[in-house]
Symmetry: C2
Subunit: 405 residues, 2 copies
């Protein structure tokens, strides 16, 4: 297949690109490299030293003889070039990972809120409009998030995308299928909720074939392909904005920093290893919906854990301490989370779980590159609301001070 | 109160502005005049001769001694100026009507789809982010549409915004309140569905106080205030994009054109007269939610009719013929529509209905300005999908040909 990977320079996109290239597909990365610019803006960098995308593609060809094509294009602002690109290349499938994906970044300031909405909504809608306009019948696989449902739910198991509801009508109760209702807790999560509405419309109105993967928090860093050469290494974010919780704990442990848990640590989250994430995308590509089908929605996760339990797990493994910080998010202090992932299991996914020794692999990465860690960047600082912002103690540069308790 | 009326130069916005000015409020219009530019783009004009906004404001002062302030500002693209304006003026309430509001226009070409999403999503989100950033606790009243729910429903009465659903949990069934699920049928309607998600988020996360008015199709043209001077007349759209169905029938009748009904005419729609629309906005302003309240949602309509019945009503009144055109929209041919509007009735709304003789008033407007009608612009032409587009017979300039049956 000819596959376009939008956001192919990112944390999930790069290993996905390599995996699909190795599987024999013709792979095209489209990326505006905005994520690298955000590193510059925040004054942070990937823990792992990351080459330019052009250099990474060159090395992949050297190592494997396979070509990855790279196209610099901003999906959100350059509709006409996107349309032209699609018309010229006519991909069979499109993996859409090209969004601003950090909840804390999306809540930093009003500028970041506005950027996140423009970028994510713009990228997704431009893509949908251009597919209709060019008449390209590519299967679109989008990465959404489990977090779109919010975490203050009533403990119901989260089904895969849809809910049957009973509605009173003049002729009695009738059952109707609806999108599982969302309760986004950040501007970032809100944009995924907006995406979902756009997918539903374009699938229904224009017969676009769409799979939306509601992914859990990704952890780990290596895949079989990224390990084939030092310079193919995946990016590894550990800062307070982009570093996801488990990776951040492992870094904190590696540098002897206490593991910073927000609030009570009673929040339950869904997780998936990067290897499984890549594999799920491949499985989703292998099983495309037909025109006229509703949007196919999968929960892409393998396990759930309480944040506090994860901290204790990593502390046990590494001897680190646990520190409780005020929670910058407006959310329930404790929640249960039961998630169905029957569809991926049925397609043959064999989950990589936390117990499988891969934690050690990340600890190794963290130790190897410990000298590159900027310690001041480790805890999360964005406050979700003005009042919560005022509660967090800050240093003179506005960074939240550690409050070990 | 100091009230900002976003989109105050439009069809609903202008009479709302005059009504609130006459009621003694300090009224500020914010508008980028994009609707006038769209008239230019489409080569159409309001049936009623419409002065510049500056001139209309001048005349209002001459007639009433009251000042309406006008500010030229694009809400969707000029976030910083919007924020500055809010910080400088600190309004007590904001009426947000500033969106591209024609479903056919939103479906014309990919450019129009992209514009509609950028404009509407941009305007609404910029406003929300700027309110949070400036800390202004204004009551935000937004105009949404009944059409957001789609028209292929199962005949259930549409409640005011929310639905209680039963969800299975490990400890038994629990009831949860959700936003009434939407099924937008055009890109325009889709943007209102996106707005709704953004309102829910900002009300919940930041305590913004928001009322969302899900309005039916507005008909009529005059209000007590617009009638005070010829040059205060409201705009009157009759073209295939912006002319709403009842106003279009009345124009067709006035020029001896057959009344064009799409499909079987079995589609039921909700209606409201412009006088009631203006009055509802005032009622909504008088009853603001408190910080922390969920978004207050009202159905702003007074009656429902089948489109075919309306055509017959107008035909009876005027002697016009009825013509059936292929339906450019992808929707059910027939539907029922039962809408609850208890909240406005409780606040004291006295509905103006179709039988009240106001139809004649519109027929008079139509006759008076019949010489200004461009007949080629009367039927609706945007096709909702590529296949439907191909079915419609077109003249050499791409306009749909009349197919009287
Ligand atoms: N990493 C996770 O834990 C996780 C969890 C759930 C869902 N997801 C989703 O998976 C997708 C990929 O996440 P990631 O962790 O790889 O993020 P990332 O930030 O590392 O990668 C995103 C890539 O998209 C690019 N991009 C952003 N906006 C663009 C635009 N307008 N035009 C072109 N390129 C653009 C960026 O430059 C970057 O290379 C995202 O949609 C994210 O929401 C990630
Ligand atoms: N007219 C109806 O039948 C009807 C029915 C249901 C809901 N509504 C809603 O009511 C609202 C007003 O409708 P209307 O009929 O008065 O429409 P309109 O097009 O006549 O007026 C909209 C006004 O907003 C302005 N505007 C648009 N984008 C803007 C931007 N980015 N910045 C600043 N100004 C901008 C336009 O210039 C115009 O003056 C809309 O939100 C519409 O969706 C209307």
């Amino acid at each position: 297949m000819k596959i376009a990977i939008l956001g192919g320079d990112g944390f999930c996109g790069w290993p996905t690109t390599l995996h699909l290239s190795e599987a024999g597909h013709e792979v095209h990365i489209i990326d505006n490299l905005s994520r690298r610019w955000i590193d510059t803006e925040l004054g942070v960098q990937s823990l792992t030293p990351m080459d330019s995308i052009q250099e990474r593609c060159r090395i992949w060809r050297e190592v494997t003889g396979r070509t990855i094509h790279f196209h610099l294009l901003d999906l959100a602002t350059d509709y006409e070039r996107l349309k032209g690109w699609l018309a010229d290349h006519r991909p069979d499938a499109i993996v859409h990972l090209a969004e601003q994906r950090a909840a804390p970044y999306s809540m930093k300031t009003d500028r970041h809120k506005v950027y996140t909405v423009r970028n994510n909504t713009g990228a997704t809608h431009n893509l949908l409009a251009a597919l209709v306009e060019t008449g390209i019948d590519a299967h679109l696989v989008h990465l959404g998030t489990m977090g779109v449902y919010g975490y203050s739910s009533i403990g119901a198991p989260i089904p895969e995308g849809y809910l049957d509801v009973e509605i009173d009508t003049p002729t009695g109760k009738k059952t109707q299928e609806i999108l599982y209702p969302t309760r986004p807790g950040s501007v970032y999560h809100m944009t995924k909720s907006l995406d979902q509405i756009m997918f539903q419309f374009y699938a229904q109105n224009d017969g676009l074939r769409i799979t939306d993967l509601h992914q859990g928090i990704v952890w780990g860093t290596h895949t079989a392909q990224t390990q084939r050469h030092d310079q193919l290494v995946n990016r590894f974010d550990y800062d307070g904005d982009y570093g996801t919780v488990l990776n951040r704990f492992l870094i904190q442990a590696a540098i002897g920093h206490p593991l910073t848990v927000h609030g009570t640590g009673g929040q339950t989250r869904a997780f998936i290893h990067i290897r499984d994430s890549v594999r799920c995308i491949e499985l989703a590509l292998s099983d495309a919906p037909r025109a006229g089908d509703r949007v196919r929605i999968f929960n892409q996760m393998t396990e759930t854990h309480r944040v506090g339990d994860l901290a204790r797990l990593v502390a046990g493994l590494t001897g680190a301490k646990v520190a409780n910080l005020p929670n910058p998010r407006k959310e329930a202090a404790e929640n249960d989370l039961i998630v169905k992932n029957d569809q991926f299991l049925a397609l043959g996914l064999e989950p990589t779980t936390l117990a499988d020794g891969l934690l050690e692999e990340v600890v190794d990465v963290a130790r190897r590159f410990a000298h590159r860690i900027d310690r001041s960047r480790v805890p999360a600082v964005s406050a979700w609301t003005k009042e919560l912002g005022a509660q967090v103690e800050r240093d003179p540069e506005g960074r939240a001070l550690r409050s070990v308790s």
